[in-house]
Amino acid sequence: MNLEEKISPIVKQLAPSGIRRFFDLVNTKPDAISLGVGEPDFTTPWHIREACVDALERGMTSYTSNQGMPELLEKISQYLSDRFSLAYDGQSEILVTFGASEAIDIALRTLITHGDEVLIPEPCYVSYTSCVQLAGGKAIAIPTSSQNGFKLRAEDLEKAISPRSKVLILCYPNNPTGAIMRKEDWEPIAQVIKKHDLLVISDEIYAELTYRGHHFSLASLPGMKEHVILISGFSKAFAMTGWRIGYVAAPEILLQAMLKIHQYTALCAPITSQIAAFEALKNGLSECEAMVSQYDRRRRFVVKAFQEIGLTCHEPQGAFYVFPSIQPLGMDAHTFAEELIQEESVAVVPGDVFGPSGKGHIRCSYATSLDRLDEALRRIERFVKKKRKNILLSSIS
């Protein structure tokens, strides 16, 4: 039997993850410093882990309601209101999921039928395009560039819209660029969204990791809530990636539709993780703040270091990534990343993994201790100097 033939064509056509190939390469270098990690270097704060241990000891091992534990839903509702001035009803407009990842999948499957177009500003998180394809849709990239700080501009959005455009996926603060959108950036975008009746899937998983000011949520603009499916989670803000817990908030009609998929495919998010998430929102915000101020220090350190190395780097104001340009070196990002790991044992992710408009850039995560960042940047500096010298030599000869 040819098993390969049995695989659905939709799955077959999914691009293998560009990160995967790189991962294997890095694994051959056990002493490497990795700036390729897309998750916090902190362990989940102890009081959160302790709440989970306690719940296990008390025998909390059952299913919960499909939507999530009522206390947690209430807490999320209150949190969204306190932090981002958003009004979502815990009973009918919020659903607890297996991380933001599940939320992205069910939001797309709820909205997309065959041939619908989904607009995605690029560079973007690696899952979106594949999830769109799995839902039967067609991903349409909207390139953004470092000249505009990788922000989405209304005119670029307008240009990408066709009669089949239905959904826009937004991710600010952005992975991989660290770009954010302020209120004044959103206002013209909101006009376009209204004009074309677009639905927005807004992945705000990095909302808490916003520096110099506070995250502004698109759904908090007047008239925007009915256009937005808000996705977030606990992975980044509370260093809880392994717990697989997140949530989605949306107008009741959309939420109930997503709940249908969730109840048949996931049943409910793990109870232990829900209990931990409740504790995180109840008592974890100060620790979140402390982690954010650590990221902020590292961010300033890394940006300055790249400037000194001479690789232009727009200032990222959110998430924990910098996205410098390596164009002056005249090499593509894959070659850069491969030679950097071979020659200096530092791992970074080539920017075009996040879509063609990421080419000529590399993504470096600063979710790593300052000591290691310092060492990694010294090595990058040495590497860049060497490459520059080679360019010079070859231009002379």
């Binding site: 990160i19 991962f23 890095v26 990795s34 998750e39 270097d41 590292r298 350190f301 000591d371």
Partner: protein, 163 residues
């Protein structure tokens, strides 16, 4: 009000005393000279007390004896707690002295090489007029010291590359 910039420099140095003024300047977006000036002030004002390393002595093969001594004292005329504490903390083997509320007055932490030395120190304490009683506790094992967990290496368990 404490100056937030000074607090930030202090917490960076508390975490890693080997950071150079230049590195700190990078992180806080200041000039190197500015950072050097602030650090000098912090030293001159006695806010930064010393720069040391946190050492896991047992792992380094050096065994030391630690004891905590609860001391009850009677402050006498012209001889308050501060003076009594001073008489005790000037001994170099004393690591810390705290004035406590509750069942006893001073908590004295001692670090020496042998049990006998602890005995001699307690005898010395007991001979002071102002000392009413002492209770000595020996430390059997250290789990966490100065905010550092001793025998739990903070291993990075993350995948080297993730999206």
């Amino acid at each position: 009000m404490a100056d937030p910039l000074r607090l930030e420099i202090l917490s960076l140095l508390e975490e890693n005393a080997r950071l150079t003024a230049e590195q700190i300047a990078h992180m806080l977006d200041l000039s190197k000279e500015n950072v050097e000036q602030i650090i000098k002030e912090l030293q001159d004002e006695g806010i930064i007390l010393k720069y040391g390393a946190s050492i896991h002595w047992r792992k380094a093969g050096k065994r030391r004896v630690n004891a905590l001594i609860d001391v009850k004292v009677t402050p006498q005329h012209g001889y308050g707690f501060d003076t009594v504490a001073r008489r005790i903390y000037l001994f170099p083997e004393v690591q810390s002295v705290y004035l406590m509320s509750g069942a006893y007055d001073l908590s004295v932490a001692l670090e020496v090489d042998t049990m006998e030395e602890v005995g001699r120190f307690v005898e010395k304490l007991a001979s002071f007029d102002f000392v009413v009683s002492t209770t000595t506790h020996f430390v059997l094992k250290k789990y966490k010291e100065d905010g550092i967990i001793l025998d739990e290496p903070d291993k990075d368990r993350r995948l080297v590359i993730s999206p």
